[in-house]
C-alpha cells in the first residue's frame, strides 16, 4: 500500500483493514469470561451438607461436561482470536446448552428435598439457586456475545480481503 493510498484511506476502511493484523481479542476475552462464570457455577453448585442427593451418575456427567465445556470454550477463544468463523459457530450451541443446564442441576436441586440430620431440607436454597443460575446465564450470554462478535468480524474481514483481492 503506497503512502498516497494510506492517506486517502477512510476511517471506516482503516477500521476494516486493521482486522487483517489485529487479533479479535474481544471475542477471545469474552469466551474466557464465559469460562470464568462456568467455573464459578461449578464450584458453587455442589453443597456438602445436603446428604447424598448428588451422589448419582449425573454428577459424573456434570463434572465431565464442565471439563469439556472449558476445553471447548478455550479453543473457541483461541480460534475466534484468529478469526476462525467455525469456532464462533461452535460457540453458539455450547452457549445455548449453558441456558439449558439451568433446568438440570440448579432446577432439580431447587425442587428436591433431602433428609439432613433427620430434618427434611431443600437441596438448593433460593440464594444459592439464584446465584448459580446467574452464573450459568452470564456464562451463556458472554459466550453468545463472543460468537456473534466473532462471526461479524470474520465476515467483515473475509469481505475486506475479497475486496482487496478483487482490486489487485
Amino acid at each position: 500500500m503506497s503512502q498516497i493510498k494510506a492517506e486517502i484511506m477512510t476511517e471506516a476502511y482503516i477500521k476494516k483493514d486493521r482486522l487483517r493484523y489485529v487479533k479479535n481479542k474481544l471475542s477471545g476475552n469474552l469466551a474466557i469470561i464465559s469460562i470464568v462464570f462456568n467455573a464459578l457455577f461449578f464450584v458453587s453448585i455442589y453443597k456438602s451438607n445436603v446428604g447424598q442427593y448428588y451422589y448419582k451418575p449425573l454428577i459424573g456427567a456434570s463434572i465431565v461436561y464442565n471439563l469439556l465445556f472449558m476445553m471447548i470454550v478455550f479453543l473457541v477463544s483461541e480460534g475466534s482470536k484468529n478469526y476462525s468463523i467455525n469456532y464462533s459457530y461452535i460457540a453458539i450451541p455450547v452457549a445455548v446448552l449453558q441456558f439449558a443446564r439451568i433446568f438440570v442441576y440448579p432446577m432439580m436441586g431447587h425442587r428436591a428435598t433431602t433428609l439432613t440430620t433427620g430434618v427434611e431440607e431443600q437441596v438448593m436454597k433460593d440464594g444459592q439457586f439464584i446465584r448459580v443460575v446467574i452464573y450459568l446465564i452470564a456464562s451463556g450470554v458472554f459466550l453468545l456475545l463472543s460468537a456473534f462478535i466473532g462471526i461479524v468480524k470474520c465476515k467483515n474481514l473475509q469481505k475486506h480481503i475479497a475486496e482487496i483481492e478483487a482490486n489487485n
Partner: protein
C-alpha cells in the same frame, strides 16, 4: 528532525570509573553521525546518555534549544535501535511496531496508518502477521527500525545494529539504513566499532578512544588527515604502517631505509631536524618500485589487489609493513620487493599528534 548539542559531557560511574571525558559536538538537522572506536571506548555509553538510559555526570544535552540533560527517556522523543533487536517474541511484527504507539494510547486507526507506512518503507508489509522468530536477522533488524520509524522521533539512535548479522546481510542492511536516512531526512546517531560502516554511512565520524574524542570530521578527513596516531591506525583497512624515523637534512632515515623529502615536507619538519618522528604510510600508498627494500613473508591475493605482508629488509618487528598493490601479485616468501611511498603522514613521537595534514 532535530539539532542536538552535546556540551562537555562526562560520564563517571559510582565506582569512580570515568567512561566519557568532555564530549562536545553540535549535530545539525538531518545529519548522520557515527561514533566509532574500539570496544570500551565509551561510544555506547555516550549514546545511552543521549537516550537517557545513563545519567549524565557533567555537562549538558541540548535538543532543539531545550536542555534535556535530566529529562526521562520517555520524554526525549528519541527512538533507539539495539543490536539484539529487542523485539517481543509473543507479538506479531505488526504488534511489535505498533506497541510504543499503543502505550501512548494513540488512535488505533492512526497507529494502523503509521505501521503500514513504515512497513512499506522497510518492505515488511508481507511479514506483518508473522512472529519475530519466523524472520531472518536482517528482517528482525528492519522491524526494530520500523518500530523506531512509527514513533516519528526527533532523533534516531542506533547501537551497533548490524553486529548480529552475517557479512552479506550487514552490507545490504547498511544500504537500507543509508536509504532510510535519505528518505526520512532524519537526524541519526549511530554507534559501531566497524570502520566500514562508519566510513560508508556517516556525514561526520566521531572517533573515540578510552573515553576521549580523538577526532570529529568527515570520513575523508579522518582517512586523509588523521589527527593522531590512534585515528591513523584505527581508520583504514589494513591499518597504516608506522616507522620510527629520524629527520636528517632532506631525508627521513628509518630502520634500514631512507626516504627523500620534498621541499614542502622539509619545511614542515624543519623544527624536527635531528629528532625522531613517527612516519605513517597507508598500505595503499606503498607502490612497487623505489628504494625501500621489503622482504615478503606472506602474499594475499584479493582479486583486484594483492596484500603483501613483510618487513623492511634487515629489520625485525619494528620494520613490519603491509603493502596493498594493485592487481594480482605472485610474491614468494623471502622475495625482496623495492617499494616507495607516494603519500606520507607525520606524527610527533611524544604527543602522537599529527604534525600536519597529509603531505604529498
Amino acid at each position: 528532525m532535530a539539532q542536538l548539542s552535546l556540551q562537555h559531557l562526562d560520564k563517571i560511574y559510582d565506582n569512580k570509573v570515568q567512561a566519557v571525558y568532555d564530549f562536545n559536538i553540535d549535530i545539525e538537522q538531518g545529519e548522520f553521525i557515527v561514533l566509532v572506536g574500539p570496544s570500551g571506548c565509551g561510544k555506547s555509553t555516550t549514546l545511552r546518555m543521549i537516550a537517557g538510559l545513563e545519567d549524565i555526570s557533567k555537562g549538558h544535552l541540548i535538543l532543539d534549544g531545550k536542555d534535556i540533560t535530566t529529562l526521562p527517556p520517555k520524554d526525549r522523543d528519541m527512538a533507539m535501535v539495539f543490536q539484539n533487536y529487542a523485539l517481543y517474541g509473543h507479538m506479531t511484527i505488526y504488534e511489535n511496531m505498533a506497541f510504543s504507539l499503543t502505550l501512548r494510547k494513540e488512535n488505533p486507526n492512526v497507529i494502523h496508518k503509521k505501521v503500514l507506512a513504515a512497513a512499506e518503507i522497510l518492505d515488511l508489509t508481507s511479514q506483518l502477521n508473522k512472529k519475530p522468530s519466523q524472520l531472518s536477522g536482517g528482517q528482525r533488524q528492519r522491524v526494530a527500525m520500523g518500530r523506531a520509524i512509527v514513533r516519528n522521533p526527533k532523533l534516531f539512535l542506533f547501537d551497533e545494529p548490524l553486529s548480529n548479522l552475517d557479512a552479506k546481510l550487514r552490507g545490504s542492511t547498511r544500504r537500507e539504513i543509508m536509504l532510510l536516512h535519505k528518505r526520512l531526512g532524519a537526524t541519526m546517531l549511530y554507534v559501531t566499532h566497524d570502520q566500514t560502516e562508519a566510513l560508508t554511512l556517516a556525514d561526520r565520524i566521531v572517533c573515540m578512544s578510552m573515553g576521549h574524542v580523538q577526532q570529529i570530521g568527515t570520513p575523508l578527513e579522518l582517512y586523509d588527515n588523521p589527527a593522531n596516531l590512534f585515528v591513523a591506525s584505527f581508520i583504514g583497512l589494513p591499518p597504516m604502517n608506522f616507522f620510527e624515523t629520524l629527520v636528517s637534512g632532506d631525508k627521513l632515515i628509518g630502520p634500514h631505509f631512507e626516504v627523500e623529502m620534498s621541499p614542502e615536507q622539509k619545511d614542515l619538519l624543519a623544527s624536527y631536524q635531528g629528532k625522531h618522528i613517527t612516519l605513517g604510510v597507508r598500505p595503499e600508498n606503498v607502490v612497487p618500485g623505489g628504494t625501500v627494500p621489503v622482504k615478503v613473508s606472506k602474499n594475499e591475493n584479493l582479486g583486484m589487489n594483492t596484500l603483501v605482508h613483510g618487513h623492511i629488509d634487515g629489520t625485525g618487528s619494528e620494520g613490519k609493513i603491509v603493502c596493498k598493490f594493485r592487481g594480482w601479485g605472485d610474491y614468494k616468501d623471502g622475495d625482496i620487493v623495492m617499494v616507495s611511498f607516494n603519500r606520507m603522514h607525520f606524527f610527533d613521537k611524544e604527543t602522537t599528534n599529527a604534525i600536519t595534514r597529509e603531505v604529498k
